[in-house]
Amino acid sequence: MQIRLLKDKIYSKLMLVLTVLSVSVVLVIGIGLYLKSGPVLDHSSWWTLLSSSQWKPLKGLFGFFPFVMGTLWVTAIAIIIALPLCLLTSFYITEYAPNRIRKILVPFVNLLSGIPPVIFGVWGVLFIIPLIQDHIAPHFVEFSTGYSVLAGGIVLAVMIFPLIVSIVCEVLNTIPRELKDASLALGATKWETIRKVSLRKAKTGIVAATVLAISRAFGETIAVLMVCGNNAVTPHSVFDPGYPLPALIANNYGEMLSIPMYDSALMFAALLLFIIIVLFNVVSRLIMARLERKLAL
């Protein structure tokens, strides 16, 4: 008897330790990155680092503005492409599609989410780059290699399709049937019901999904790195190359130890990504947890 209880006690303490350890990884990462970016933060303030566009590691000039802008451009393009498409798809899946089609469709969206980032990158190089270079860019600008923030945005948009679709579908499925029936019974068309009832009810959920998608897009490295052109200049049009923060980190790790403060600057880039993504995730997860609790009642 005693041994059984003792066993239970020991195991519970062990599990507690493991749980605390694995959760505190968030904190440890944050603190570790902050400490490592100390030297570059001592040298210049957050504001100068973020607003300067002078990127000359050899002279000790670390201006992150082009990289921040590169990240913003790529993420914005991805969301602008993905959000309307995903909303329409989710509405189709939840409201219109017959069961038979839904059963085929949903697994394919899931399969898409299983494809590794590097495959998206290869696809971008093989398909999107030539598409932009030969068919899209010539209509707008004189010359583009195709390696551009637009290419990065398109590839990212496809990558975040499954994320947005699955969350929005889940949110839409939780809207009470009666609410929609009431609207339909009053003579509204299906689309009117979606626009005036479902959309309004699902608003918070859609916002949460979007924020989550933005954070995913923000941190994606390799696919974007492969198609973005990686030029440390602030992009001015969608056909300009960009250089997002994750790509900066991935591309320069090899040389970073030989130049003073370079590693510190790259760790600052990682810290920046980390802070933004943790904030975005916490906000959207809190929204979704609240939605879930509301529905459980």
Binding site: R4, D8, Y11, S12, M15, L16, L18, T19, S22, V23, V25, I29, G32, L33, K36, P84, L85, C86, L88, T89, F91, Y92, L105, F108, V109, L112, I115, P116, P117, V118, I119, F120, V122, W123, F127, V158, T189, K190, W191, E192, L212, R216, G219, T221, I222, M226, P246, I249, A250, Y253, L266, A270, F274, I277, V278, N281, V282, R285, L286, A289
Partner: protein
């Protein structure tokens, strides 16, 4: 009246088009990879390690990267399971599953899940520098373990939550301790554990950014934990960057291999989940 009907139809068409794009993007991607990869596929690719001059188009294959990927993904999944099964059980069995602490922990793991792999890579690199470990199989496994723990915890958590509460109550009522009750629950969630393993393995096999700094790269198959290891995604990335056409082709072929591996894992996990759940009490 007519205008409303028109609007309805217009958006209906838009929705179908959007669905075709979203659903079709899967075929577009896999199609592109197959179309470009098949001409460069041959037995050498999967049965040989790179020979001298592989990166200028001479003979060899990517066996080193395939094995390296399996080692890292397998090691990380095993290590991750050892940590996340107790954590998932603790959240649900000892913390009760549905209270503020348990939910905060869930959100924390979701946040961990959202952290990009490049940050895990950079952090893994920091740890390795701190402890004086060089880029190696061990470093790669540690970084990828950090990456897969949140996936495993959250999947297992969802699975445990589907076990009927009555089952726990019954075992507790018979005088079992919470640890003994957990053993009953573990038996129930076995199929779910398989799904979680495959999910994390799939993610681990495909990830580049976390192993970029931590696993190094090598043309040989690693024989100890301290040797650097190649991974398939990284091999694709390096080969694609080559100016030699033959080597680029091999990148396509490697991408095809990776796609096939990942698709098999994904399909297997959903089939297995269905197969095993037959024997469960629901």
């Amino acid at each position: 009246m007519i205008r409303r009907k028109l609007e309805e139809n217009f958006f209906r068409v838009l929705m179908v088009l959007a669905t075709l794009i979203v659903g079709g993007s899967f075929f577009l991607i896999v199609g592109t990879i197959v179309y470009k990869g098949v001409p460069f596929m041959n037995w050498d690719m999967v049965t040989k390690i790179p020979g001298g001059g592989f990166y200028i188009g001479k003979e060899g294959g990517v066996l080193n990267a395939i094995i390296g990927s399996l080692y890292i993904a397998g090691g990380a999944t095993v290590l991750g399971l050892l940590i996340s099964i107790p954590v998932a059980i603790y959240i649900n069995m000892y913390l009760g599953g549905r209270n503020v602490v348990a939910n905060s922990l869930r959100i924390a793991f979701d946040v961990l899940f959202g952290i990009p792999s490049i940050v895990y890579g950079a952090f893994g690199f920091l740890i390795m520098v701190y402890f004086g470990i060089r880029a190696s199989l061990l470093g790669g496994i540690v970084a990828v373990t950090l990456l897969v723990i949140p996936i495993l915890v959250r999947t297992l958590d969802e699975v445990i939550r589907t076990v009927p509460k009555e089952l726990r109550d019954a075992s507790l009522a018979l005088g079992a301790t919470r640890w003994e009750m957990s053993k009953v629950i573990i038996r129930q969630i076995r199929p779910g554990v398989f799904t979680a393993i495959l999910l994390s393995f799939g993610r681990a096999v495909g990830d580049v950014a976390s192993v970029l700094f931590t696993a190094g790269f090598s043309d040989n198959i690693p024989t100890s934990l301290h040797q650097p290891a190649a991974t398939l995604p990284l091999a694709i990335f390096f080969q694609l960057g080559s100016p030699v056409e033959e080597v680029q082709g091999r990148a396509y072929a490697s991408a095809l291999i990776l796609t096939i591996v990942v698709l098999i894992i994904t399909i297997l996990s959903s089939v297995l989940a269905k197969q095993f759940s037959k024997n469960n009490i629901r």
